[in-house]
């Protein structure tokens, strides 16, 4: 069974690397979906089937789809891909790469050198999570509701396009500017 875990992890890491190196946004998002699915399997292996399902439904199913919708709404052309190619040069990898390797090294060091306790081998299913949510963490649930509410209102308000009112004399201003 351990093999499943390792294979899923490998897929997740590989998919993530592909996400961060693509020029085309839609390609990157598709790889992201794969990464999330792999993570869901990892969740399953860690004894959390409920959040595995949740990951697929909400994360891969809703959030990524939302991002795809917005990209389509932006109506980007081929130039976007070209621009990505230009911006994405070798030199930009060096600094962040070094920093991140240092960070990763430190994380791994901390994890490996700390004492590893005995792990419980139980599966925490939806019922336990539900009881926990509606028990001690009820306030958190309410707060999440508030958060989502504000998210909706904010997204609606911020996404509105106000029509620019131009005086009829200046309506042709753009054309004149281009003629000059």
């Amino acid at each position: 069974m351990q093999a499943t875990f390792y294979i899923a992890s490998a897929v997740a890491i590989f998919a993530t690397v592909m996400v961060i190196t693509r020029y085309n946004m839609i390609h990157a998002l598709l790889y992201l979906v794969i990464s999330f699915l792999a993570i869901a399997i990892v969740f399953f292996m860690l004894g959390a089937p409920f959040v595995a399902a949740l990951e697929v439904i909400v994360y891969a199913g809703a959030i990524v789809v939302l991002i795809i919708f917005v990209i389509m709404m932006l109506n980007l052309k081929e130039e976007a891909v070209e621009q990505e190619r230009i911006w994405f040069s070798r030199n930009t990898w060096i600094g962040p790469g070094i920093l991140s390797i240092i960070l990763l090294g430190e994380l791994v060091y901390i994890l490996v050198t700390s004492a590893s306790p005995e792990v419980s081998h139980q599966v925490i299913d939806a019922k336990d999570v539900g009881q926990s949510l509606y028990g001690p963490y009820i306030i958190g649930v309410e707060l999440c509701g508030l958060l989502l509410m504000s998210g909706i209102v904010g997204a609606y308000h911020l996404g509105r396009q106000k029509k620019k009112v131009v005086h009829r004399f200046l309506e042709n201003a753009e054309e004149w500017k281009q003629q000059l």
Binding site: P96, L99, S100, I102, L103, E106, Y109, I110
Partner: protein
């Protein structure tokens, strides 16, 4: 009546206060009226108090108006003390001051700033009164500084012209040098006696010091330094001729009658210390003698009417210093009083002449004013006669003659003092009547446009009368031996010690003095009326000496090279101001760091995220290193 003593300085102060605070809302006439009436009231109170003192033979009266401050051992209050010496000064200041105020109403009639003028004049009179009434040296120093301030304000009264401002500044700075010496002297006095009360010092001094004591000599020289600055004697005499840039009433009040005599008052008041320091006293006399000769020679060559009178003032105060130096204390005070009368008269009359001729100062452009302005002519003649000490009829004869005689006869006097005084008398007569003859006789070169009115003529007349009869209160032995003045001053100032056999020489000294004076007058008459061209020949023959004397013996040039130029050079070097650079350096360093740090705010999002990452890495590394 005597308990109203505190009113005397307070009334002018109130006048000044009212004019300063509300002067702009008063009419000029009201302001002038207020200015004159407070001084008139003060003069009236002085007369009443003086009458009371003379009739009841009170020797001294002390009063404290207000406690000023107490610091450790020093307790200073506005304590006034009236005795004979301060009574004489009080009388002169308020009386002559009142007449000068009345004169100023006419003189400053057309001037826009006359309210300010009366405010300053009142403040000056208040400061001078505080100076002479002060019972302790700290309060006297307050008055000393006050008169210096008012002198500055009034010399530079017509401030729109830059040269007036420079003259005022020069006067202030030079008197400041003297004031510093005076202050150090006060510090030393306090250090020795732990008090600045004058009477206490004068009683304790003989007990503490023997004659010729070194401390006493040093203190006496320091006080002399202060007196020399205020009274325009050598070496600080160069400011007074330039101070003639002020209006003529100012020259009359401040630079003839009162402020410049503050030095005389100081030395007379602190006579106890000078008696314990004979060396210093001798130097007082030497300075007086040399100054009177130098100033007399300079006055001989001047062509500006007021400058002649300025040098004359320096010379006459030299006489007073000479008298103080040889121990003729009451003679000095007597000469002060008479000098105040005739010098104020001369300045006011000169002011009238200048005013009538539309601010023409050069005497060689005047002439023939004798018939045009008779009142001014006669009063000026009386004043000049008193200055030259015409025998018997003028008051100046009696006061100057007394000094001459005591220069010969006093125990501290001597041949050289006498010769200097005699030569000075001759020169005085020559330059005085040169002034009179050139200004009032001969043909009229500038026409006198407007004649003075009553407000300007009446003070002239009153002062002329005083210049004539003022001397009769102190007649020498040969003429009836009236000694009202010296009797009055007897409780305050010590009597002059004569050397043996001196009394018999008095009549001879008087004859010599009279001959010298009349000789001087005739020389002036001959040079300027009979044979005018001879004066020019003499001048061109000794042109170098003429130039030297004209420039005041080149003291101005000397001080310029010794003090002014190095100071200007130093301040030009320090223009960047070393101390300021520290603070501007701080400011520019802060600015530099601010700009450097603001460059970290690039506005680029990735930069900020990089910052967060770097910070996280550093913190993690540190925590790993510190707790492995």
């Amino acid at each position: 009546m005597i308990h109203l003593l505190w009113l005397i300085p307070t009334l002018p102060f109130l006048g000044a206060l009212i004019l300063v605070l509300a002067g702009s809302s008063l009419t000029r006439r009201t302001a002038a009226g207020i200015g004159c009436s407070v001084i008139g009231l003060a003069a009236l109170i002085t007369l009443l108090i003086g009458y009371e003192i003379l009739t009841t033979h009170t020797s001294a009266y002390s009063d404290i108006a207000w406690h000023w401050f107490t610091v450790a051992d020093l307790s200073v209050g506005f304590s006034f003390r009236l005795d004979a010496l301060s009574l004489v000064f009080l009388f002169v200041i308020t009386f002559v001051g009142f007449f000068i105020h009345v004169y100023s109403v006419g003189f400053m009639h057309d001037d826009e700033g006359s309210t300010r003028f009366f405010a300053y004049l009142n403040l000056f009179v208040c400061s001078m009164l505080i100076l002479v009434l002060a019972d302790n040296l700290a309060l006297m120093y307050l008055g000393w500084e006050g008169v210096g301030l008012c002198s500055y304000l009034l010399i530079g009264f017509w401030y729109e012209e830059a040269k007036n401002g420079y003259a005022a500044r020069k006067a202030f700075i030079m008197t400041r040098v003297g004031d510093t010496a005076l202050a150090i002297g006060l510090f030393m006095l306090f250090g020795v006696f732990r008090t600045l009360d004058i009477q206490e010092i004068l009683t304790k001094a003989p007990q503490l010091w023997s004659t010729g004591s070194q401390t006493a000599t040093v203190i006496a020289f320091l006080l002399l330094g202060g007196a020399v600055g205020k009274s325009a004697q050598l070496p600080l005499q160069t400011w007074l001729p330039d101070a003639m840039a002020g209006p003529s009433p100012v020259s009359a009040l401040i630079h003839a009658a009162t402020m410049v005599t503050a030095g005389v008052y100081l030395i007379a008041r602190m006579h106890g210390i000078y008696e314990l320091a004979p060396l210093a006293q001798q130097w007082v006399g030497i300075i007086g003698a040399v100054t009177l000769l130098i100033a007399g020679c300079s006055a001989l060559t001047q062509s500006d009417l007021k400058r002649i009178l300025a040098y004359s003032t320096i010379s006459q105060i030299g006489y007073m210093f000479l008298a103080l130096g040889i121990g003729a204390w009451s003679a000095a005070v007597f000469h002060f009083m008479i000098h105040a009368f005739f010098k104020a008269l001369l300045f006011l009359a000169a002011g009238t002449v200048i005013w009538s001729l539309h601010h023409e100062h050069d005497i060689f452009k005047m002439g023939g004013l004798r018939k045009r302005m008779p009142v001014v002519y006669w009063t000026f003649l009386i004043g000049a006669g008193s200055l030259a000490a015409i025998p018997l009829i003028t008051a100046g004869f009696y006061s100057k003659d007394q000094i001459l005689w005591l220069a010969w006869a006093s125990a501290r006097g001597g041949l050289w003092f006498f010769i200097a005084a005699l030569l000075g008398a001759f020169i005085t007569a020559v330059y005085t009547f040169r002034m009179v003859f050139v200004t009032f006789f001969g043909e009229e070169k500038t026409h006198a446009a407007h004649l003075p009115g009553k407000l300007m003529n009446i003070p002239l007349t009153v002062l002329a009368i005083l210049s004539l009869i003022g001397g009769f209160i102190e007649l020498p032995h040969t003429f009836g031996h009236v000694t009202w003045m010296s009797d009055l001053l007897l409780p305050v100032l010590p009597t002059t010690v004569l050397h043996e056999g001196a009394e018999s020489s008095e009549i001879m000294i008087q004859i010599i003095a009279a001959v010298v004076t009349l000789g001087g007058v005739s020389l002036a008459y001959w040079l300027y009326i009979v044979k005018p061209s001879l004066a020019d020949e003499v001048k061109s023959a000794c042109f170098d000496i003429y130039r030297l004397w004209y420039a005041g013996w080149r003291f101005d040039a000397l001080y310029n090279t010794l003090f002014v130029r190095p100071f200007v050079w130093l301040s030009a070097i320090n223009k960047r101001d070393v101390i300021d650079q520290f603070y501007t350096g701080l400011a520019s360093a802060t600015e530099y760091f601010g700009q450097t740090f603001s460059r970290t705010q690039t506005g680029v999002l990735r930069w900020y995220i990089m910052g967060i990452t770097v910070g996280a890495v550093i913190i993690l590394t540190l925590s790993l290193l510190l707790n492995p």
